[in-house]
């Protein structure tokens, strides 16, 4: 039997064009042996939930540097749940003010990362969340 691969969707929701971080993270996860599905820019929450469903991913990673995370994240969680994918772990990276972090954790975001976050930490946290 083949070993189960961790599958991660890396998406850029909203109109935010900052894609360096998403690409850095995608490559780091690949180098850690994960299969990363990269959706590209300007994804609506609906597109992200649909891709997560079709790809049967373990993790959805959102990269948001535009400040729109408080609108986008809850909507994406809601759609994942509506599709029967409430077990999918959602991670967010980008520009997230400290004040918003507890609120995001509360609605069910598993991990939050800002500028300069170590990709080793991200990899470790994803592995931990998926195998727990």
């Amino acid at each position: 039997m083949t070993e189960k691969k961790i599958r991660v969707l890396v998406a850029k929701p909203g109109l935010d064009g900052h894609d360096r971080g998403a690409k850095v993270v995608a490559r780091a996860l690949r180098d850690a042996g994960m299969e990363v599905i990269y959706t590209g820019l300007r994804q609506t929450p609906e597109m992200i939930a649909e891709a997560a469903l079709q790809e049967d991913v373990d993790v959805v990673g959102l990269s948001i540097l535009s400040g729109a995370h408080m609108a986008l994240a809850p909507r994406i969680l809601e759609l994942l749940k509506a599709n029967g994918q409430e077990n999918v772990k959602v991670f967010i990276g980008g520009i997230i003010p400290d004040d918003d972090m507890p609120k995001l954790k509360e609605i069910g975001i598993t991990g939050i990362y800002g500028p300069g976050a170590s990709t080793d930490d991200i990899i470790r946290d994803i592995r931990e969340a998926v195998t727990s």
Partner: protein
């Protein structure tokens, strides 16, 4: 992991989450995946399988996006897309990016896109791509488009799997003789020159045509010693299919209806010539062979006959048995 048997009924009824989860089980070759595949198998054999191959960057994903839009609009066919990208040979990880070019297809329940990492398999497909095709076929997808890795050299697997294989070229991608090898043309049912907005289309077309002439001799009129001569092609048993050459601009939707038409013509040709069932037979045979090979190897390498295998290997190393004698001994031994 749960021991529960996967229900195939929801998949036959169009439940997308069940379908997606089964694909994962199949990809990981679990017992549940295998038994579900067996249950679904009688429901397969209806879909038109279209392969899309060609070097990276020629526009395969963009073309798949456009073709699918066309099929959804003109025929209302349900379309499944399997997009294969390479796994890193060092880490086993992969970045699968074909969806980036297929954003127009989101929000349509008649389309299902699944990305697949090659997971160490060579030949442009993943080991489980054929099994994915069976799942989509049983789930009622009329058209299944398979985009290969497109590494270039050994893309023959797709021709074995698909009914209709598109080979995509683009101007300026080293298209002089090197890239347009007879090998890749032999697998082409339809040739596409994408990026026809780019300079050098004529060169690409000329190179394709001359290679094509070598592979598929046709009736030609030539000048010979000042006289017109007609060369007849060798007589053929059935009507020959000569791969047409189509020019497209995937980013501007140019040439897409014509491409869809060429694919439809190839499909009717397959039916009329009897090649449809011949290809079906060849494909299922190669799938059966692959499974048989794997099962036999597993029996001796991981299974009940492991010890007999090790003993036979020792005898071969001591030069007591040749490899042929060893295999005869192993197979006769059970």
């Amino acid at each position: 992991m749960s021991e529960a048997v996967l229900q195939t009924q929801p998949i036959l009824q169009g439940n997308r989450l069940a379908l997606s989860r089964l694909l994962t089980q199949v990809e990981n070759d679990t017992a549940e995946g295998r038994s579900a595949l067996a249950e679904l198998f009688p429901h397969t054999g209806r879909a038109h399988l279209i392969g899309v191959t060609g070097a990276p960057g020629t526009g395969k994903s963009s073309l798949v996006n456009q073709l699918t839009l066309h099929y959804r609009k003109e025929q209302k066919s349900k379309v499944a897309i399997i997009a294969v990208d390479p796994s890193s040979p060092f880490t086993g990880g992969a970045v699968l990016g074909d969806r980036v070019r297929m954003r127009d297809l989101s929000g349509d329940d008649g389309v299902f896109i699944r990305s697949m990492a090659s997971r160490g398999s060579v030949g442009g497909l993943a080991q489980k791509t054929a099994a994915f095709v069976q799942v989509f076929d049983a789930a009622g997808y009329d058209i299944i488009i398979i985009e290969t890795v497109g590494a270039g050299q050994s893309e023959v697997d797709i021709a074995r799997l698909a009914h209709t294989t598109l080979v995509v070229e683009a101007p300026g991608l080293g298209d002089d003789i090197q890239a347009i090898k007879a090998g890749i043309l032999e697998i082409a049912d339809v040739l596409v020159i994408n990026k026809a907005d780019r300079p050098g289309v004529e060169n690409t077309e000329r190179a394709l045509r001359s290679t094509l002439e070598l592979a598929h001799p046709t009736r030609r009129v030539i000048h010979h010693h000042g006289r017109m001569m007609t060369l007849e092609p060798p007589p053929a048993e059935t009507a020959l299919w000569i791969p047409p050459i189509l020019k497209t601009i995937a980013t501007e939707r140019t040439g897409i209806p014509e491409l869809a038409e060429a694919i439809a013509r190839h499909k009717s040709h397959l039916y009329q010539s009897g090649d449809w069932s011949a290809r079906d037979r060849a494909r299922l045979r190669s799938e059966l062979d692959a499974v048989l090979q794997e099962a036999l190897m597993n029996r001796f390498l991981n299974g009940s006959h492991r010890e007999a295998y090790e003993q036979a290997l020792e005898k071969v190393i001591r030069r007591e048995w040749s490899p042929y004698e060893a295999v005869r001994g192993l197979l006769n031994g059970g």
